[in-house]
Amino acid sequence: MSQRVAYVHLPRFPVQRRVLDEPGLAAQPLALVHETKGVLRISFASGTAQRDGIRAGMTLTSARALLPALRDGLYDAAAETQALSSLAEGFLRFAPAFMLSAPDGLWLDASAASLFGGEAGLVDKVEAQARAAGYRARVVLASELFTARALARFGAATRACVALGDSGRALAALPLQALEDAPEVVASLRALGLSTLGELSALQPTQVISRLGAQGLRAQRLVRGQDEARLLPAVLPEVVEEVRTLEAPAESLEPLLFALKAALDRLSARLRGRQRAAVRLTLTLVLEPAGPYPVPLVLARPTTDPKLLLDLVRHRLESVRLDAPVATLVLTVDESCEDHGQQGVLGDAPAGDAALETVLARLATALGPEALGSPVLADDHRPEAAHAPGPFRPPRREPGMFAEARRSPPVPPPPPDWQLERPVRLLPGEGEPIEVELDALGALRTARVLGKRRKVLAVAGPERLGGQWWTETPFQRDYYRVHLDGLGPAWVYRRAGEDGFYLHGLFD
């Protein structure tokens, strides 16, 4: 079965990325340079710089002579490939796999296009996602890797789908320059007076092989749409991490937050691509010269929402005092889980859900994740062990119209009888020992509770709770509900075989 692939071409990706990180560079002549044999040469030039004659391969000195206002920056090939890979991970929402074509493009496996409105729909969605991330992109979907890439890089359309078997015709109008991997063949063909791929395609294979050899024949097969190369899925890094080195060390929150916003956008896109949601993150601020300063970020509920994450980070950083400026920031996802997404509902305010997520994240970060939760009942006779904190996962609200139609909420099952006699406040652990006074018949007269000796007005009980006899710590207690003067009912118990009384709860 023939494959279908989409090529995403991001013209001058490293320059676009630099401008995204530093919006002040937009519309300014910019060149990224690398060092070769002690000479700085231009790797990429922005459109503005190119209009002034700056070309890749020029030395920085000659470029400066041509354009004194030229801004420059170092080109780090490894970092750019990493950034491209991060961007590609975001496209995994639409494609099961990708293959990089560094430094400025990537192929996507388009086999899942039917899920996104067909091939045209997939192309639109991929282009829209790139645009949302701040990049200009050209996307072409075809059956061969070469066809998709050549049309995306050298074709006229910014978005296109090439039907199966139509590749040769689609490629015919492209210039020979599209055969980027075979510069010798291109030079020979130019010498022969050819200028388009269509002209190469029209030659007899015997003529091609006699003049250009095996390389020429391979090039002809490519331009005839007979490329048999397959997409090799890239292996995703295990740790989702975004690193951002600031242009100048940040001494205030504002530039830091700006950089964080971009990093969180990328991180969220990557997580969404992997269909994962962040549970725990670490923001490491690399201070100059103090070194790394980790800031743990705990989320109350898994999320991929960059806005929520930024709000959480902002809140967290407000309480952090740094001794040195921040040179680099590293965002690492320490723990993630499967992302089930959130369903927008009609009638209910989506803003409410966001508000809930925000406040939960804020509280979890400030107080610690163990400080908030929803109580869960435990199957245990020992009162202090009969409940435990659990995660707060309120039931998903039904879409508004259905919720409206279903006016009456589900009737909960009746609580078991024993719950009816439980106090709403329980003292920690096994409670506090209390002093009691008994009359001649052994009835309770007074008890010292909450710092005062109080008259006992009435007693009800006992309820005998016992268990764990098979363990080292068996228990047997007789519980009484005791009405005390000036207070409401209190829950008091006495251990089997002991005379002392303990206050364990208050029916507040």
Binding site: L363, L367, F392, V424, R425, L426, V456, R481
Partner: protein
């Protein structure tokens, strides 16, 4: 325009109107949270705890304040809304809540590690607008709200339209918009007094039998108990203590619905303690 197109247009308009109504509905559903206790709701101006205000339940830690607050929270849960409880003393006992009508999965319990974070937590919860009712329990926490903190809480409640139920101890009253003094009135009832109210009704008092606080809960003045001021009730022989409702086995109770020790009424302390025998 054809008749069919006109009909479609009318249907669309009706649908739009319906959507507008539905979207506007949630805020209009609730204006007060009722406790479901006629004497209490009758006492409160508006028939319940008013949303958008700070209601202070001021009294001893065993006066019924918490159950009263959770009865209002249960009303919020019945309307499919969320509620939060900032548990200052860390004493909230979850097994007692379902009988009050509270849905535990719709209740967020916050236990800040430091007492100075209590008011801040409640403020965040209120400001979020995600919770229709927020409880702030300052009992035994040693915290007394400062006037600016109180102002911020009142403002947050007013802006978000949520209800803040503020539980304060006798020695540290706060600055609630509506303050109710809750106290025990003997073994039979609790007493509520409106101490402060902007909507009138101040100094009104009502007594609520303890039995009413937990629906279906035990009667403290019925069989199996006695008031020491009253003549002692005859202690019945060891008759099985059963409830009218059928019990299902859940591993906690016996096959006849009894729990260990529950079949006995008040035992003789004299016998148990070896006094006077």
């Amino acid at each position: 325009m054809t008749a069919a197109a006109r009909a479609d247009s009318a249907v669309l308009e009706r649908l739009r109107e319906r959507i507008r109504t539905l979207q506007a509905a949630p805020r209009q559903l609730l204006s007060v949270l009722r406790t479901g206790l006629p004497p209490v709701d009758g006492l409160l101006p508006g028939g319940g705890f008013p949303l958008g205000q700070v209601v202070e339940l001021w009294g001893e830690p065993s006066s019924g304040r918490t159950r009263l607050a959770f009865r209002a929270i249960a009303e919020a849960h019945r309307a499919l809304r969320l509620a939060a409880w900032v548990d200052g003393p860390g004493m909230l006992y979850a097994p007692a809540l379902p009988p009050l009508g509270v849905q535990l999965e719709q209740l967020l319990v916050v236990r800040p590690p430091e007492s100075k974070q209590l008011a801040w937590s409640a403020l965040q919860l209120l400001r979020s607008g995600a919770f229709v009712a927020v409880g702030l329990d300052l009992t035994r926490s040693g915290v007394r709200l400062s006037p600016p903190e109180s102002r911020r809480l009142v403002e947050a409640a007013s802006r978000s339209g949520g209800l803040l139920l503020l539980l304060t101890p006798p020695e540290a009253p706060a600055d609630g918009t509506l303050r109710l003094h809750v106290s025990a009135a003997g073994p039979r009832a609790m007493r509520l007094e409106v101490v402060r109210s902007r909507q009138g009704g101040a100094s009104r008092t009502v007594e609520v039998p303890w039995d009413l606080l937990t629906p279906g809960g035990p009667s403290d003045v019925g069989a199996g108990s006695h008031g020491l001021d009253a003549p002692p009730l005859p202690v019945p022989p060891s008759t099985p203590f059963r409830r009218a409702r059928a019990c299902t086995r859940d591993g906690l109770i016996g096959i006849q619905g009894q729990r260990p020790g529950r079949d006995l009424s008040l035992p003789s302390f004299a016998q148990a303690l070896g006094v006077g025998s």
